[in-house]
């Protein structure tokens, strides 16, 4: 595990580039679908716009309201950014094994995602504002509900590959077949759940701008808001790369070749799927979203797991 790898190429700087690129791609795609122009002036086709936004927010005045719980309010954005950046090192990007991998890192990623939800709620609660509080409650209701079908559907690839490691799942897809072909239902469920975990438009209930003015983001400003925006970009990269490495084979190309370019192409396709869904739907109510998660997505995910288990018995 050379140090330069962690800092530069499949590591920190590359992930930062991916995060800003994915935000640009998402904004541009949604703007094109809604017949707008989108980011245009900063750099070619506005590709530097997310970076410019980040620098601008970082250099803004940081207001800490008098009523907030100062320690948690300041620590919250740092911890959330840490927890959304950390699982990205476990994703196989450049080769068929990730920078850091061990048997069971899929469970580790899910654990980190759950921990992030709890810290989100704590920082919403610490900002002592009614909008933040409602937003924080909605975050914890929605994201914990969608965590369950997500976790159950993610066990499908793990059972097929007989391993709980993302790198092993990618290597299984290199030697056998893409898991998208075997488990299309699981791919659909994971896509919907990741859309909810990202709090993108059909599920943007926790930060609904027209109801509760950005929800739990309300009191954050300046550098804290910059860190939270960067967190959202990293979450987008994490969601798309989970889809890529669980179902589309990660950096594996045709004829057993491996390249970061294949990973990048598949990542772009996944981001386009997510932003297409984001432009297509209108916001659900919180009870509709929860009902959908518990009543439909969880049983469907279980049926997918049963099918995965039955498959080798029926077709030897």
């Amino acid at each position: 595990m050379p140090f330069l790898d962690i800092i530069v190429f499949p590591g920190l700087l590359f992930l930062l580039f991916l995060a800003f690129f994915c935000e640009w791609l998402d904004r541009k795609a949604v703007a094109k679908l809604q017949n707008r122009v989108g980011p245009k002036h900063t750099g070619p086709e506005g590709i530097l716009q997310p970076f410019a936004d980040f620098i601008k927010l970082l250099s803004n005045e940081d207001i800490i309201p008098a009523a907030v719980d100062r320690i948690m309010f300041s620590l919250g954005p740092i911890l959330i950014l840490t927890l959304s950046l950390m699982p990205l090192f476990l994703i196989p990007i450049a080769g068929s094994s990730a920078l850091v991998w061990f048997e069971g890192d899929l469970i580790f990623i899910m654990f980190v995602m759950t921990l992030r939800i709890i810290i989100t709620f704590l920082s919403a609660w610490s900002s002592t504002n009614r909008f933040s509080m409602i937003g924080g409650m909605r975050v914890i209701l929605q994201m914990l509900a969608f965590e369950i079908p997500l976790t159950i559907a993610m066990t499908g690839p793990a059972i097929s590959a007989r391993s709980l490691s993302l790198s092993k799942i990618v290597q299984f897809q290199a030697s056998e077949h893409l898991l998208l072909l075997a488990q299309p239902l699981g791919f659909v469920i994971v896509t919907i759940c990741l859309l909810a975990e990202l709090r993108m438009v059909p599920f943007d209930i926790p930060k609904a701008k027209t109801e509760i003015v950005k929800g739990w983001f309300v009191e954050f400003s300046g550098k804290k808001l910059a860190l939270l925006r960067l967190t959202e970009d990293f979450e987008l990269v994490l969601a798309a790369s989970l889809m890529v490495s669980l179902y589309l084979g990660g950096p594996i190309g045709p004829w057993q070749t491996q390249s970061v370019l294949y990973f990048f192409t598949k990542l772009v396709i996944c981001i386009l799927i997510l932003s297409n869904l984001r432009a297509l739907f209108a916001r659900f109510r919180i009870d509709q979203a929860l009902k959908g998660a518990w009543k439909y997505l969880t049983p469907l995910a279980l049926i997918q797991v049963i099918l995965v288990e039955l498959m080798p018995m029926v077709i030897p």
């Binding site: 970082l58 309201p65 950014l81 009614r130 009543k295």
Partner: protein, 110 residues
């Protein structure tokens, strides 16, 4: 095993140092805020609402979290269940029946 603990704590520390240094850079380049009482008031869309800690409805929240933990643990059991023949399928069917029967009952009690 020790290698795994070392590498995971290394990436955790790296991410922590990265985000903390971004925070520090922000506090260096941002202008000092001139605090007025209006600026430090909680945001309330221009209405005059005082800051107040809101209580979470702990009873219903507790039921929800219990549901979450039960299903999360069952998902965890499923992930570690490969290679045991029919048992995971039976387990899946039990969870499926639990969802189908328990959720309407929970709704009726309210």
């Amino acid at each position: 095993m020790s290698g795994f603990i070392f590498s995971v704590s290394l990436i955790f520390l790296l991410s922590l140092v990265f985000s903390a240094s971004l925070y520090l850079i922000g506090s260096f380049i941002a202008p000092k805020s001139k605090n007025t009482s209006d600026k430090l008031a909680p945001y309330a869309c221009g209405e005059n609402l005082p800051a107040k800690k809101f209580q979470v409805n702990a009873e219903r929240f507790f039921i929800y979290i219990t549901y979450f933990i039960i299903f999360d643990i069952s998902a965890f059991i499923l992930t570690t269940s490969f290679g045991h023949g029919f048992y995971p399928i039976v387990f899946c069917i039990i969870i499926l029946l639990a969802i189908v029967t328990l959720l309407p009952l929970w709704r009726r009690e309210e």
